[in-house]
Amino acid sequence: METQMDNAAARVPAASWAWIWQAITGLGLVVLLALHMVAQHFVAEGGIRDYADVVAYLRNPLIVVLELLFLITVTAHALLGVRTVLFDLGLSDSAEKRVTQALWGVGVLTVGYGFWLTWVITR
């Protein structure tokens, strides 16, 4: 009888920090992505805001906080996922460490870019 899914490749060490963060950010994204989609797209005419509308929308400090939190969360979730895929290639310990460091760099640049872009639009 099959009670477990055939998913040997998915097994990860229990309670690894990356898995926990992946789950936390994933759950956070359910809320933040829903807010982003409704506020940015579903209530906007034609599904996308024009420039004046974008600026007006970002004048609300709460919206800016939520959008930046969304960016941080989605970036972390995405790069943790990439890390998992890369680790499944069977990398050495030192290569895994370099991948983690590189993805941290990509993450910081991504979030930094988002903050910069928000600042440029709202200044």
Partner: protein
């Protein structure tokens, strides 16, 4: 003991031939996940047009308000729904819940994804 070569291991998770539902669920989660990562960076790149002000952004939004881009939006939403709901299953089973009902959970969540997609596709094209 596994003796697979690295190239074999790279492809292993995506090889769903003659595999059970779990492997399909796993491969689906990865494919949608990688697609969404790609989309994230395309989306962030496109947003850089906002730096150019209304002269750069407003003509662009006229282009994306088209059936082609609405169709791409629906594909994107399908990716979110499949990845998000499948991810919920992974999280639940990862903390030891519903271990004996993974298959039913997966099928049920994919039905929810299909219903959600129909509703959202309607909303996208109506906008």
């Amino acid at each position: 003991m596994r003796t697979d070569s690295k190239p074999r291991r790279v492809w292993q998770w995506g090889d769903v031939r003659q595999r059970k539902v779990g492997t399909w669920a796993y491969a689906l989660n990865r494919i949608t996940g990688l697609g969404l990562v790609l989309y994230l960076y395309i989306h962030l790149g496109v947003l850089s047009m906002l730096v150019g002000g209304p002269a750069a952004w407003d003509p662009f939004i006229k282009v994306v308000r088209s059936p082609l881009f609405y169709t791409l939006d629906v594909i994107l939403i399908a990716g979110w729904l499949i990845h998000g709901l499948n991810g919920l299953r992974v999280t639940l089973t990862g903390i030891g819940l519903a271990l004996g009902a993974q298959k039913a959970l997966f099928v049920g969540l994919m039905v929810v994804a299909a219903i959600g997609l129909i509703i959202m596709a309607f909303m996208v094209f109506r906008s």
